[in-house]
């Protein structure tokens, strides 16, 4: 098989990365980063990791890109000076980076043989649980504890962002995400696309049990639809004191924890499921997690409250 496409992709990724770091303007740098994210999702497909490719495209390029673009808009148009650093410092940093790169490249070029793998263990779990997507099996059964903690990290991150609200505004709504000038095409897109996005998001979540897809990817699609509606100014971001919002944020982790503790008396320990109930439990947990992810990602992009509660 020819290496040419891979080589071209690698070159494009590196060029976009250099652009991202070297661009003068802040916004150009963010756009470079989004391009890197999209190219990386192609690389993930070449690495036979379709689940990761979907996540990278949705979260790595899409959600992070939107977050950074908003930050650019808030920070004003111009990059400050200060790019002119001492040449000696640049050379020193260059040497440091080269050393790191050479060390990593050595590991890549002379890897351990045979390659360590946990694939057989994961495959054995697949049979027990009856799901067809090995990545979902790892995320929700074999290494469910990691996923649970990651959900807690998401909730903590949201609490961290909300905690930056100035005191008088506590409980209010985040600043409007509206684009500066209301415009027909954006409104139209925000009216037509979200229902389609909902069907696709639910499809990704549901289908993730057996084929590529899952809670992260589906949840991000749902979050993106919500953000699109807020950007087109069809709906305002909700006030962060709303109980419904807060319940949705913790719904996923709570359902996950309940399922985990239930393992003590319906199976043999924390986060273990009885074989015949495993699939329904996992699907239930996935649905709750996806809803929470959608809400958390949306609110993370929206940022801390910027308006006093009404």
């Amino acid at each position: 098989m020819s290496l040419l496409p891979d080589f071209a992709l690698m070159l494009l990724i590196l060029i976009a990365a250099v652009w991202t770091v070297s661009a003068r303007d802040r916004r150009d740098s963010v756009i470079g980063f989004i391009v890197v994210g999209l190219l990386l999702s192609l690389a993930w497909i070449r690495l036979n990791s379709v689940d990761v490719a979907l996540t990278e495209a949705a979260v790595g390029g899409g959600a992070t890109g939107l977050l950074l673009l908003r930050a650019c808009a808030r920070l004003g148009p111009n990059e400050t000076e200060g790019v002119s650093l001492k040449v000696s410092l640049r050379i020193l940093t260059g040497v440091l980076c080269t050393v790191v790169a050479v060390a990593l490249a050595t590991i890549v070029l002379y890897p351990i043989e045979p390659a360590p793998t946990l694939a057989p263990t994961a495959a054995a779990h697949m049979g027990e649980i009856g799901l067809g997507n090995p990545v979902t099996v790892v995320l929700l059964a074999y290494r469910a504890i990691d996923t649970l903690l990651e959900k807690v990290v998401l909730v903590l991150a949201l609490i961290g962002v909300w905690a930056l609200t100035p005191d008088p505004l506590w409980g209010g709504a985040p600043g409007s995400l509206r684009a500066q000038h209301s415009s027909g095409p954006l409104t139209f897109l925000a009216q037509v696309l979200p229902p389609v996005g909902i069907v696709i998001g639910v499809y990704l979540i549901w289908n993730g049990a057996d084929r590529p897809g899952g809670t992260f990817q589906g949840g991000t699609v749902l979050a993106a639809m919500w953000l699109l509606v807020m950007m087109a100014d069809l709906r305002e971001p909700p006030e962060i004191r709303l109980h419904t919002l807060r319940r949705l944020v913790v719904l996923g982790p709570v359902v996950f924890l309940v399922a985990g503790f239930a393992g003590f008396w319906i199976a043999n320990g924390f986060l273990s499921y009885p074989p015949d109930l495993a699939k329904p439990i996992i699907v239930l947990v996935e649905a709750a997690l996806a809803l929470s992810i959608a809400v958390i990602l949306g609110m993370l992009v929206a940022g801390p409250a910027a308006r006093a509660p009404r």
Binding site: S183, P185, L186, F188, L189, V196
Partner: protein, 97 residues
């Protein structure tokens, strides 16, 4: 049968690539942002459509083919929306608005 399908695929995908190339040439040669948008939206849209058309005979069942058509429709919507938004943004500094 399979030969005909393959021929159609090769022809349509090549034509699609040609239009992507033409769109890129337009992007480089056309004089201003709005004109370049024409090149991007129209030529690339057609290029993408032809690639989808070329892949249709290769899809294993009707559902996969329809999926490709759905993707095509979504890209049309995205292209139409994005080009108008960029046009609106680009013309802010330009004549009238």
């Amino acid at each position: 049968m399979s030969l005909m399908a393959d021929t159609l695929t090769i022809a349509a995908v090549s034509a699609g690539l040609f239009f992507f190339l033409a769109g890129t040439v337009g992007l480089l040669r056309f004089p201003d942002t709005l004109t370049r948008l024409h090149a991007l939206t129209k030529a690339d849209n057609l290029g993408f459509g032809l690639i989808v058309l070329g892949l249709l005979p290769q899809s294993p069942d009707v559902a996969s083919g329809l999926k490709l058509v759905v993707v095509w429709l979504l890209v049309q919507l995205a292209g139409a929306s994005a080009s108008q938004l960029i046009a609106q943004f680009a013309s802010k500094g330009g004549p009238s608005a």
